[in-house]
């Protein structure tokens, strides 16, 4: 599921852990975003942004970074922020489905 080509710099143990954990990290991020309220959305975004990037889920990280910038903008209305949150959930789900498809192909 790796979205990165730069994993070779890490140790084999860390590489293996990152690869094995990426699906779960993406799933955790989707669940956290789905469950977040307007009040805790900034904290949730802050937390999952760091996780996704550190696990080299760069495409997912980019989507969440966009959401982070939008909700940090004082001119963004609560309704727009919520719509963006749902849009980000959908984008992450699409990445998850694509990753699972790749996994089925590679293991099939």
């Amino acid at each position: 599921m790796s979205e990165s080509s730069g994993l070779g710099e890490e140790s084999q143990a860390v590489l293996a852990f990152i690869h094995a954990s990426q699906t779960g990290v993406l799933r955790d991020a989707i669940a956290a975003l789905e469950a977040s309220s307007p009040d805790d959305l900034p904290a949730v975004v802050h937390s999952i942004r760091g996780s996704l990037g550190s696990y080299r889920l760069h495409d997912a990280h980019a989507h969440v970074a966009d959401l982070s910038r939008l909700i940090a903008d004082q001119s963004t209305s609560p309704a727009s922020a919520d719509a963006a949150r749902l849009g980000t959930v959908e984008a992450l789900r699409a990445l998850q489905v694509a990753a699972e498809d790749r996994s089925v192909i590679s293991h099939g």
Binding site: E9, E10, S11, A13, V14, F17, I18, S21, G24, V25, D28, A43, H46, S47, I48, R49, G50, S51, L52, G53, S54, Y55, H61
Partner: protein, 226 residues
């Protein structure tokens, strides 16, 4: 015996990744998912170094750092998703020694941990350990600094900055030299030297000592004490 690292972060995924990288490098790891639990875990395990997320819940990482600094001189590395410089500087004012921004590379975290732990190793036998300049005195073996004979509390980074300047009291210390001697491998903003130099200067003058770290424009800093 393996050195113990305390990881305080509210993200299970982040803690897990950091723990795997540190254990793979031979460290022992203990974890906490919030500030109060982190302080409790510190007292239970007395770790050699603390990795601390700034964006914790009810008690943020900066407050945790202040409370830990009241009881320990162990190096503290901030983990932060906030990349703006103000946060970094506030982090150092709270008593942190270094910071790593998220997203992070596990091997960079390990490198920073190793670098800070190397800095606290005792000097070799026969190595000079005592320095004096005016009212300032320093003992690198016991890691104590005094002004007019009275001990002052310095963080590890402040102590190492002062040591480097006192070891080189006859010359100007360049930014590169200080970064290399004090921080080892440094990947962040090089203005970190100014931040720590300012804090060191303020602590010494507050204790009745001289103004150390005189700026030599375009070159670096000199001790500035005869």
């Amino acid at each position: 015996m393996a050195e113990t690292i305390l990881v305080i972060d509210d993200s299970t995924d982040v803690r897990a990744l950091v723990a795997v990288a540190l254990k793979d490098a031979g460290y022992r790891v203990v974890e906490a998912d919030n500030g109060p639990a982190g302080i409790e875990t510190y007292h239970a395990h007395q770790p050699d170094l603390i990795l601390l997320d700034i964006g914790l819940g009810s008690m943020d990482g900066l407050e945790v750092c202040r409370q830990l600094r009241a009881v320990t001189d162990a190096p503290i590395i901030f983990l932060t998703a906030r990349t703006d410089e103000v946060d970094q500087l506030v982090g150092f004012a709270a008593g942190g020694d270094d910071y790593v921004t998220k997203p992070f590379s596990p091997k960079v975290v390990v490198a920073r941990v190793s670098s800070l732990l190397r800095r606290q190793q005792r000097p070799d036998a026969g190595e000079r350990t005592k320095y004096e300049a005016g009212p300032l005195s320093l003992d690198t073996a016991s890691r104590t600094a005094r002004v007019n004979g009275e001990p002052i509390h310095l963080t590890r980074t402040e102590f190492d900055l002062l040591t480097t300047m006192m070891e080189n009291s006859e010359r100007v210390c360049t930014r590169e030299m200080l970064l290399e001697r004090v921080w080892g491998e440094w990947f962040g903003d090089t203005h970190v030297v100014e931040v720590h130099m300012s804090r060191l200067r303020n602590k010494i003058t507050a204790a009745g000592g001289p103004k150390v770290g005189a700026v030599v424009r375009g070159v670096g800093w000199r001790l500035g004490v005869e």
